[in-house]
Amino acid sequence: MQIEFVNVLSLILFSIGLYGVMTSNIGIKMLISIEILLNSAILSLIGAGILFNTSSPLVFALFVIAIGVIESVIGMSLMAAIYRKYGKISISLIKEIKW
């Protein structure tokens, strides 16, 4: 397998994720974009593991998955807290602290 393909694919995914975090104004969309970012990293790690035929990148990928889950959980609970305080989860409107 060509490592370049995996790399290019993961970079494309990463770019999509970046586009997502730059443009989404709703909290859930932001979380999904972050998941895409993390998944592109996981993809790249798995590609590296296959290329070198070693397990440590795969272990790294497992850790990233686990951390991604934890972050989603925290993100969701933050969203819930925000919904309780503001009545909406449009994070673009949360801009009291600025300048």
Binding site: I3, N7, S10, F14, G17, V21, M30, I34, L37, L38, S40, A41, I42, S44, L45, G47, A48, L51, F52, T54, S56, P57, V59, F60, F63, V64, I67, G68, I70, E71, I74, G75, L78, A81, I82, K85, Y86, I91, I94, K95, E96, I97, K98, W99
Partner: protein
Amino acid sequence: MIVNSFITELALNTGLSNLNYLYPLFLLGIVAFVILAIGIRIENPRLFASITAGALAIVFFWLYFLPGNPNLVMSGTTIYNRYGTYFAMIMILASLLVVFPAARRLSKKADIFYAILLFVNIGIIIASFSYNILVMFVSFEAVSIGTYIMAAFGKEKRHLEASLKYFFTSTIATAFTAFGASFFYISTGTFDLTAGLKVSSFQSMDIALLFLAVGFGFKMAIFPMHQWAIDTYDGAENSIAAYLSTGSKILAFVVILKIFLVGFSGDFEVVFYLFTILAIASMTYGNIAALSQDNLKRILAYSSVAQVGYLILVLAQVSYVGNTSSHAVTLAVATGMYYSVVYIFMKGGAFLTMNIVKKDKVEISDVTGLFRKSPAVAVSFSILLLALAGIPVTGGFFAKYNLFLALITGQLWWLAVIAILNSAISVFYYFRVILYMFKDPVGETDFNLSTSVRIPVIATAFITVGLGVAFQMVYLLMSVAPGLFG
């Protein structure tokens, strides 16, 4: 007996040799669970604060008395040496600094806060010893996740907003880090930083460098990755802002030092360019943006961006000199170590001083007439600000002086000149705050001057001056500093 031999067996089979180095971490974890257990019945923030402080203090001394000779732990991913011990200890000090001030504003669920603080410290200790990107990543994330929750503590909308911004930025940084780690692996075939990486630099190495710099630079709030920090320090509870801007920031500094100076030792040219540009941008941006700022906490936030710029000059200098066993490099690393401890106290103290104002949004005019109300606090805060500005006799001066000296020793004259100019600019906004404090109050200003607010400020001011007097420390640190390179 049986248990003991079991543990030894386990240690041998899993690569966990030298288990005694991990006992402090176990202690912190156990105490954290104990706090959680007590917290089911009792809601007394001060009790939890005392337990936490006790545990942290024990670990602080425990780390000090652990054998100092370098030891490989956890299959060689972690090296216990004096260099790591130093940083672990000063970051524990940063936690100790905020333990008691934080208790003031925690009415509910204080047990969770302190348990998290202890967990965060576990992450910190591991990260400061590890030389493997995988371990570093995991422990660093442990710190990040803990601090998201800490930042969200509080009832105000502002606290939530601060935490939100911190959370989103930091998770994205996680993705960057993981991606960078992957490219690091692709170019080198290992996650181990000390593996003697001397492969010729090629493009994917640069990508790895960039992504890792973004990923870890976020936490340190280096210039283009700084925006969350300004808002979060402004919005979060004062003691949490103090912690975020000291403990977790110094942790990022430790990790960055290791990754870029050890991991990328074959690629110093790019490291030099990258960190020179970032340092100049951070210093200049932070200082100039703070000039026209009226919000006191944001002034401190911007100034911490500038301070980060000074800190990462260490990386620029080391990567410029290149020869990691030379005097210039040792001096620079020792300076970084000294600067870190001074920075923890002066910046942490300054943020804790914000507790005197009974508002969440602290304007610069809110400290007017502080000198009349409480000369001790006003003078202490002035000392902290003077230290940040780098005025002589305080630790801040010696830190900066040594930094410039290190730069000059490394033949980086022009960079030293830029840094000196920047610190000259910074004097303006620090003095502006001091002038406000020494003015007469216009109306009836009400300060919160309870003991729990006053003591940390005065204590940090004393320590800041004391660190200046105990300047000899740098020469002690110079014997420890080579530990950075394994």
